[in-house]
């Protein structure tokens, strides 16, 4: 989760930066998914690398951080050739493998290569900073807070008294207030504020992505069978009509209410793709009865709300194939 959080922070920070305004637009254009996959991979790689380094270099990191902050304050814009040389000059030298990977990624993408490289390296630097900060300070405060919290339990007598107190007149409210004070005082007394155990409910954020990477891809048949067995054993017969209806809805026998008329119909196409079908007519001759016929076909298809765009395109392509097969016959005429 911390890697995801840091990535979100990076993206927000990147969007704020003036030179990095192009990055979100580039992502939107076309190379979004491969670039994001590459960035994810680089981000994951980088988390492991920084964890190891943390174990090695504890003392030097603080001084290096200060140096980096100063350098970043000087170079907010990050022009092209300086960015590459400054990677080596900065306090915490980036892993040369990561630098090579970043340059490979930037060269593979068809856009402005040097700029992409500098952006990627800047993001890597910011990753390292945020992970260092998190590992030092952030998580401990939350743990302290949660370990001191407990579930407040009411005795049934108190609960009954409270409910009756709500219904009764004002005369009882004084009694209720005194009881509240007593309970709150008692809760403060037997638990002082400074005594606290480490509950260790939450594991360190850095260990999670390692485990997640390992155990993703292995759904064997035996696992599936086991899962089916477990589901069959734990599936109790429905206790009432509501549970029966829930089961039917899951199986697909019963529709989901409120009824959605477009269930199963996933037409993501815009209206203009349904109506302006002339671009599919490029394979046909421009004059003659066939063109006339196909224009009528297209007119009819554009008014048809029941077919998806794929089906309409298939329709037109079928006609194209048909007329191509009959070309000899048509040329005789």
């Amino acid at each position: 989760t911390s890697s995801v959080l840091s990535k979100d922070k990076d993206k927000s920070a990147a969007s704020k930066d003036s030179t990095h305004e192009e990055a979100p637009k580039k992502q939107e254009d076309g190379a979004e998914t491969p670039k994001q996959k590459l960035l994810d991979m680089i981000g994951n790689m980088k988390v492991e690398v920084t964890y190891r380094r943390k174990l090695q270099q504890l003392k030097a990191s603080e001084s290096k951080k200060q140096a980096m902050k100063k350098l970043e304050g000087l170079d907010s814009e990050g022009s092209v050739p300086q960015g590459i040389t400054e990677d080596t000059q900065r306090g915490k030298p980036l892993n040369p493998e990561l630098v090579k990977a970043a340059s490979a990624v930037a060269s593979s993408l068809p856009r402005n290569k040097k700029q992409m490289e500098s952006e990627l390296l800047a993001q890597l630097r910011r990753h390292e900073e945020t992970t260092d900060k998190q590992k030092k300070g952030g998580t401990i405060n939350i743990r302290n807070v949660i370990s001191e919290m407990t579930v407040k339990r009411q005795s049934p007598a108190q609960r009954g008294a409270r409910i009756s107190g709500r219904i009764s007149l004002q005369l009882d409210e004084d009694g209720q207030r005194r009881r509240h004070e007593r309970s709150s005082a008692q809760s403060v007394d037997y638990r002082s504020l400074k005594v606290g155990k480490r509950l260790n409910i939450f594991t360190k954020a850095s260990t999670e992505p390692e485990h997640a990477l390992k155990t993703v891809s292995s759904p064997t048949i035996w696992d599936l069978e086991f899962a089916k067995e477990v589901a069959a054993v734990t599936a109790q017969p429905p206790r009432n009509g509501f549970e029966e209806m829930i089961q039917w809805t899951k199986e697909g026998i019963l529709w989901e209410f409120p009824i959605d008329n477009e269930v199963g119909m996933e037409d993501d196409a815009e209206f203009h793709e349904h109506i302006f079908l002339e671009k599919h007519l490029e394979g046909f001759p421009k004059e003659g009865p066939i063109r006339h016929f196909m224009e009528l076909v297209i007119c009819g298809l554009s008014k048809n709300p029941y077919l998806s765009v794929k089906q309409k395109v298939e329709h037109i392509e079928w006609f194209q194939n048909y007329f191509e097969e009959k070309k000899e016959l048509l040329q005789e005429i």
Binding site: P289, F293, V297, H315, W318, K326, L330, I333
Partner: protein
């Protein structure tokens, strides 16, 4: 004794597991006519698009007549069960070909039976 028992066991096995190569026709439709109707419906669904398109070429005043004649021959060459005209709306429960109400897909006798036993939702004996 043992031989006859073995033969009987084999026959039972053969009945339960008929030859696996062709598709089993064993299903729980009411009778064979209903099964044939089911087959015709499936074929009509498969060839519906083609038939629509070839008919669009045939029923046309723009395209040349030679092309339409060729289309005529093509549509005649399609399998006979693929035309929707051959489908008969039979009763779903008794496979009765006549007296079937389309809304419930039931024959009049079955419909009346269920309606009298109050098993048809929203159906009441008419009285006015």
């Amino acid at each position: 004794m043992a031989a006859t028992a073995l033969c009987w066991a084999l026959r039972v096995v053969q009945q339960v597991l008929p030859s696996p190569c062709p598709r089993q026709v064993r299903s729980y439709y009411v009778d064979w006519r209903m099964l044939r109707d089911v087959k015709r419906r499936k074929m009509a669904y498969e060839h519906a698009d083609e038939r629509l398109r070839i008919n669009a070429i045939r029923k046309n005043s723009i395209l040349p007549k030679e092309l339409q004649e060729v289309a005529d021959k093509e549509i005649a060459a399609l399998p006979r069960d693929s035309c929707p005209v051959r489908i008969r709306n039979r009763c779903v429960l008794t496979s009765r070909p006549r007296g079937v109400k389309r809304r419930w897909r039931l024959s009049r006798i079955v419909f009346r039976h269920f309606a009298d036993h109050a098993q048809m939702s929203g159906v009441q004996r008419a009285m006015w």
